[in-house]
């Protein structure tokens, strides 16, 4: 197995920056965030969790998906051209790489999203195995603390060095073209221990459907503020709204997509004023059921990767693992 000494990480990043814009976890106000690297020494690969997942690099909070030019009445001109920089995401945890795999299932199907696709094609993913779960993490029970796919390289912490797992040809080329990688002994993937949270996943999609009418939902729905923080920090929340902006002269228009969330009031509002999910309970239920039941039914894996960010940020202390565990104990 090839290895990368920890003291060489900054040089490695410098090397990567010659070909890529490199985004990696860095300290920000006492927490960690993925950001493009200016100072290589600030890259932190041993971190608990980042505030936001890596989806923002592939699915920005706001982007233009169509531009139109109305100045010539005879011929309206359109532009919907994806652009992408060569980027490297360095230091993603398995939970976030597993989330990217789920994003791919939705955005790279036969009606693929061209903007997302372009960015994915121009991205190098170098992950790192997480070594200690945070208080809100439950990837252990979701099976997303491991990753078999969706990365070019994976780093395994071995004390003073990282063992390097190769996940793609692109990754193989990098490892074999840089002197910074040395030969070394195999390093085992870490076994995560000490989880405070967890859910039992056996028959979970079916259980959730069976408990659709449970009164428990109201207990949580009444607490929910409908603020949407859970959606913003979720690595697998992929919904968006679309709005048109037109220039003051009426000649040029832009169509933007903006992150949206099913817990927000207007998400299912239709013209005429009817709202299919007008109460908070039905919206919260939609979000949790989509993660733990509907997504699984459609794509064959859970829509949640147990990163725990939603639990961490919820101002109403709504914890999806608690919702699930209570529903399960109700049905026993």
């Amino acid at each position: 197995m090839k290895r990368l000494f920890k003291e060489d990480v900054a040089s490695f990043v410098r090397e990567l920056k010659r070909s890529y814009k490199v985004a990696a976890p860095q300290e920000r106000d006492g927490e960690y965030a993925f950001d493009f690297v200016e100072d290589e020494d600030k890259v932190v690969l041993d971190y608990p969790s980042t505030i936001l997942p890596i989806k923002k690099f592939f699915f920005p909070p706001e982007e233009i998906i169509l531009e139109y030019d109305l100045s010539d009445k005879e011929e309206i001109k359109f532009k919907s051209e994806p652009k992408a920089d060569e980027i490297c995401i360095l230091g993603a945890h398995p939970c976030d790489i597993n989330a990217l795999i789920r994003f791919d299932m939705v955005y790279l199907d036969d009606k693929f999203d061209p903007f997302y696709k372009k960015r994915r094609e121009h991205a190098l993913i170098i992950g790192v195995y997480c070594t200690h779960p945070s208080e809100s993490c439950f990837c252990g029970s979701m099976g997303t603390d491991r990753v078999e796919d969706g990365y070019d390289l994976m780093l395994i912490d071995g004390g003073d060095e990282y063992g390097v797992e190769i996940g793609s040809e692109k990754g193989d080329r990098i490892v074999n073209s840089m002197d910074i990688f040395k030969d070394g002994k195999d390093i085992e993937r870490p076994k995560l221990e000490g989880f405070i949270r967890g859910v039992e996943t056996d028959d979970l999609p079916e259980l959730m459907l069976k408990k659709y009418e449970s009164d428990l939902w109201n207990d949580f729905g009444e607490k929910c503020l409908g603020c949407g923080k859970c959606v913003l920090v979720c690595p697998t929340c992929f919904c968006y709204n679309v709005v048109d902006d037109i220039g003051l002269d009426g000649k040029n228009g832009e169509r933007k997509r903006i992150w949206d969330g099913c817990v927000l009031t207007d998400f299912t509002l239709v013209a005429g004023g009817f709202n299919f999910r007008k109460d908070r309970t039905s919206r919260l239920k939609q979000r949790i059921l989509h993660k733990f039941s509907y997504f699984d039914d459609k794509y064959g894996v859970s829509g949640c990767t147990g990163c725990g960010r939603c639990i961490n940020v919820c101002p109403a202390d709504i914890d999806c693992t608690r919702v699930i565990n209570l529903l399960r104990s109700e049905s026993k």
């Binding site: 992929f238 037109i246 039941s293």
Partner: protein, 273 residues
């Protein structure tokens, strides 16, 4: 080619037919000619430049060769802007999308159409498709209800439809007026005014949720099975390609898996009804 699925194509407004005080049937042509090759029951995303995009069902049958039609009430930003368009104005179109009605499975079978108000718009695409492929399909009953006589859509089609061999048209209103000499009552009551065959018959319902609720009870009483009752779900889809999440119902996306579902399928998806 990696052509973006967010790119609309242009269509030109050719004609407007006022249906009710707030609803108009718009006829569009494509600059390159032809129609949208839509399956009856499919939707499209309509762009009014400068206003935005909205999902609209296609009311014309693909047997209409040189145009397509949208029957739209002016109820939202985009549809209000559509109503202000003049002949020759351009719109953007993405689609058609969705599964559409099962025109193959319906072959050799009878069809009952039950429409409430604007619900006749999507059903008309299939009614006219059957009319234009008459030999492939069995008997057709068209049951249409509206609040008042002036709220009925496609009155100009009634006469033509009722003259087609094997077609029967029944209409009703919730409240009549001086001009109305027909039935008064809910649309479900029309089911008992004629001899509808249950065997080998598919039912297509479009209308407000409350109407759907009571009509399905009537249909169950008459012996119709849930998998022979079909309807369309309405959601405010923003993308039309299974991404934006707005039309998610259970594990289905209305834009991709629908808009047409059997009653049996709807019952399986939480929150569908």
């Amino acid at each position: 080619m990696n052509e973006s699925l967010y790119l609309p194509r242009i269509a030109v407004l050719k004609d407007k037919i006022a249906e009710t005080p707030d609803t108009v049937t718009f006829t569009f042509g494509l600059p390159e000619g032809g129609n949208l090759n839509n399956i009856p029951g499919q939707c499209l995303q309509l762009t009014i430049f400068g206003y935005g995009e909205a999902p609209i069902s296609i009311t014309s049958s693909p047997t209409e060769k040189d145009c397509f039609q949208l029957c739209v009430r002016d109820v939202g930003n985009v549809t209000k802007a559509l109503h202000k368009l003049e002949i020759g104005d351009k719109i953007g179109v993405r689609g058609p999308w969705g599964n559409g009605f099962p025109i193959e499975e319906l072959k050799g079978k009878n069809a009952v159409f039950i429409a409430g108000g604007l619900g006749l718009a999507p059903l008309r695409s299939l009614i006219n498709y059957i009319a234009d492929n008459r030999r492939d399909y069995g008997k057709v009953w068209i049951l249409s209800g509206a609040r008042t006589p002036k709220d009925h859509l496609f009155k100009w089609e009634w006469d033509r439809w009722s003259k087609i061999d094997g077609f029967e048209v029944l209409t009703t209103v919730d409240r009549g007026d001086d001009t109305w000499t027909g039935n008064v009552g809910v649309v479900g009551s029309l089911l008992y005014k004629t001899d509808i065959q249950v065997e080998n018959t598919m039912v297509f319902i479009c209308g407000p949720p409350i109407m759907f609720h009571f009509v399905t009870m009537d249909l169950a009483k008459l012996g119709f099975k849930d998998d022979m009752i079909l309807s369309t779900l309405e959601r405010h889809m923003k993308c039309g390609v299974g991404k934006c999440g707005h039309c998610n119902v259970g594990s289905k996306y209305v834009c991709m898996d629908g808009p047409v579902f059997t009653y049996a399928e709807m019952k399986k998806q939480p929150g569908a009804l």
